[in-house]
């Protein structure tokens, strides 16, 4: 069956009234939570995960996709109207978006962002449809050593590429791996780090770790440093664009995805780099250079389109390889594991209906997002005025609901608080949170693949590098590890040459 007919079947799944309802609920909830200041997409999806517990997998993931895109859109609304981006991907939207809002063009900035998200998401998802089955086909024969190599790549990429300090990234990863060890060993049933406790023998649920690190950790951290005077949101009317604006922005909307999509698919920090690259590109190509920094509409349109397309790129590696490249993808992977579904090359074969239903619902979600958000924008802007005590009390409240819903055990709330305090400490001392989450989610899996690979090779380490695929992945790993050294070497001669020309 080719991708197109599978996609049509997917639309058959996504367009049933009940799934359409879940998509709409997801988009609305995602936008509402994403708009709230201080809540980025990762925390939004972690907090909203329990909402999907009672649903069957297809409905749950359709809703989840809506939440994801909604939260991303909501985040850019916050940056434009409040000039205080909650997460790195929305930083760029604030550079031009906020001056626009200040000079009374907030409606146009929001419209450029919304349509940018729509265009980027659409193009990105079309690329996902075209590429994902091919990647899955290529990857379908990969075995335990290859999986292990991919996971090593994920660990190394997430500790080295993101954040400013590799040691701190590595420390965070090891904390996550340790949390992942707690419980019964999957292969022998051996108790590890359970200290004889029955509750710990089940292991620590990844949802509790994600909610603890993202939501509780963040709420406590903000509580310790709460800004007593919060910024004023700029009131805004219904978003619209004049003909002049459309003429300036349509190329930016189309250029964004070309930058965003590839960056989303590789473990390079999600939307942070591509939004910035898109901003720089648009600035260079712009015919209104004098407006930059004072509210150039292209500077909103391009990056927002790039960020939305990078989300689609993220889904390619998440669905076909089980490789999460962003915090949101990590939480999504945890959600798949909740249903006993393992994303990877076989996902397209085994769970064809679910995957294509999910992909089709991305298109549906994007249309809903555009249709709902343009008229509702003034309402979303009102959410920015929520008193901060209520906002962070609400985060703690819903985190408690989520953790309790996982297993119905009060002890989970205590574990949640402890992990939240770890998250607090990590924020205080600049340990990035994402490596820990990736460590918890991929750690147990990586161990299993490692042991399986070594079982096949009868304990010989060469069993880990006996396929061309794993060798090339390790080559990439080596490149990332040696990158600072290589850059130093490359910069050396460059610098001396520059000195000569001066």
């Amino acid at each position: 069956m080719n991708a197109f007919s599978s996609l049509m079947d997917g639309f058959g799944t996504a367009l049933t009234p009940i799934n359409l309802l879940w998509a709409a609920v997801g988009v609305l909830l995602g936008t509402a939570i994403g708009v709230l200041p201080g809540i980025g997409p990762a925390m939004a999806v972690a907090l909203l995960l329990p909402v999907t517990y009672g649903l069957e997998p297809t409905g749950a993931f359709i809703m989840f996709a809506g939440i994801y895109y909604g939260a991303m859109f909501g985040g850019s609304t916050t940056s434009i109207l409040l000039n205080t981006p909650g997460e790195s991907a929305a930083v760029v939207a604030a550079i031009e978006g906020n001056p626009m809002a200040k000079s009374g063009r907030g409606a146009q900035a929001l419209a450029a962002a919304a349509i940018g998200h729509f265009a980027g998401g659409m193009i990105g998802t079309v690329l996902l449809v075209a590429l994902a089955p091919k990647v899955a086909d290529l990857a379908v024969d990969i075995g335990a050593p290859d999986y292990f190599a991919i996971m090593v790549l994920a660990f190394i990429a997430v500790t080295s590429v993101l954040g400013s300090s590799r040691i701190r990234g590595l420390a965070s990863l090891l904390i996550g791996l340790t949390l992942g060890l707690v419980g019964l060993d999957q292969m022998t049933g051996q108790q590890r780090l359970t200290f004889g406790s029955l509750q710990l023998a089940d292991g620590i649920d990844v949802v509790i770790v994600a909610v603890g690190l993202f939501a509780i950790g963040e709420a406590l951290w903000v509580a310790a440093h709460l800004r007593r005077t919060s910024g004023q949101a700029i009131p805004v009317g219904r978003p619209w664009l004049g003909r002049q604006d459309v003429r300036r922005t349509w190329k930016s909307w189309l250029r964004g995805p070309l930058i965003g999509f590839p960056f989303g698919a590789i473990p390079a920090g999600g939307a942070e780099i591509p939004t910035f690259l898109s901003y720089v590109t648009e600035k260079r190509l712009s015919q209104h250079k004098d407006e930059w920094g004072k509210g150039a509409i292209e500077g909103v349109a391009g990056p927002e389109s790039a960020s939305s397309a990078s989300a689609a790129g993220t889904l390619v590696s998440m669905l076909t390889l089980g490789l999460p490249t962003t915090a949101v993808a990590a939480v999504m992977l945890a959600a798949f594991q909740q249903y006993g579904i393992q994303p990877g090359p076989l996902l397209f074969e085994r769970e064809s209906e679910l995957v294509w239903g999910l992909i089709a619902s991305l298109f549906v979600g994007m249309v809903l997002l555009l249709a709902l958000n343009l008229p509702l924008a003034p309402l979303w802007a009102k959410l920015l005025r929520i008193p901060r005590p209520y906002l962070y009390a609400g985060i703690l409240f819903f985190a408690a609901v989520g953790a309790y819903a996982v297993g119905g055990e009060a002890i989970d709330l205590v574990i949640l608080l402890i992990i939240g305090l770890i998250g607090f400490g990590m924020r205080r001392y600049g340990l990035p949170v994402l490596p820990a989450v990736i460590g918890v989610i991929l750690g147990p899996n990586a161990e299993q693949q490692l042991r399986r690979a070594l079982q096949i090779s009868d304990g010989s380490v060469s069993g880990l590098v006996d396929t061309p695929f794993s060798v090339s992945v390790y080559a990439v790993v080596a490149l990332i590890v040696l990158w600072p050294l290589l850059r130093k070497l490359a910069r050396g001669p460059l610098k001396s040459r520059r000195n000569v020309t001066e």
Binding site: F195, V414, R428, G430
Partner: protein
């Protein structure tokens, strides 16, 4: 005013410790590594172990990794490296940390964990929200409890009755 009473060398030591408080992270990592290693090495693996790599190997590797990273981090801190505290929309890093709020919030959260089963979610959740809002500085004694009760009850009904995610009702829901 008290700083003048403290001998200078102790004051120096105190400021040194404050500036190097990140070493606490190293101590924690070291302790965690020790716990992981002890647990792994005292594991009595039975003969049922399948394959050349048993349940010990990875914990041992993680434990050693934790010890190594704690030493590396300590070296980095002593050389002047500092982890950058995370910024955010509502974060004001120019003020010192407000520990009272953090402890209050942690206390409220623990109380919820204790209360959720005996008194049920609607009551425990409302107390959590109100308590947290109070700790964060909200002092509206007529509005806060109402919002807390409304939010908690609505969440209970939506999750328990609409979404099929069971939450404990407690005696209150038994009465209603």
């Amino acid at each position: 005013m008290t700083t003048t009473d403290v001998p200078p060398e102790r004051r120096d030591r105190r400021t040194w410790l404050r500036e190097h408080s990140e070493l606490g992270v190293c101590v924690m990592l070291l302790a965690l590594g020790a716990v992981v290693l002890t647990d792994a090495l005292t594991m009595d693996v039975e003969i049922t172990q399948r394959g050349p790599v048993g349940p010990k190997t990875v914990p041992v590797a993680v434990g050693i990794g934790l010890l190594a990273v704690s030493v590396l981090l300590a070296v980095d801190v002593l050389r002047g490296g500092r982890g950058k505290a995370e910024g955010g929309e509502d974060v004001d890093l120019s003020e010192p940390a407000d520990w009272r709020t953090v402890l209050l919030l942690a206390g409220v959260f623990l109380a919820t964990a204790v209360l959720i089963e005996p008194v049920g979610f609607p009551v425990a959740g409302a107390l959590l929200f109100w308590g947290a809002a109070y700790a964060l500085g909200s002092r509206s004694f007529h509005r806060d409890p109402l919002i807390a009760a409304g939010l908690s009850l609505a969440t209970y009904v939506v999750f328990n009755n609409l979404l099929g995610v069971p939450l404990p009702g407690g005696p209150l829901m038994g009465v209603l």
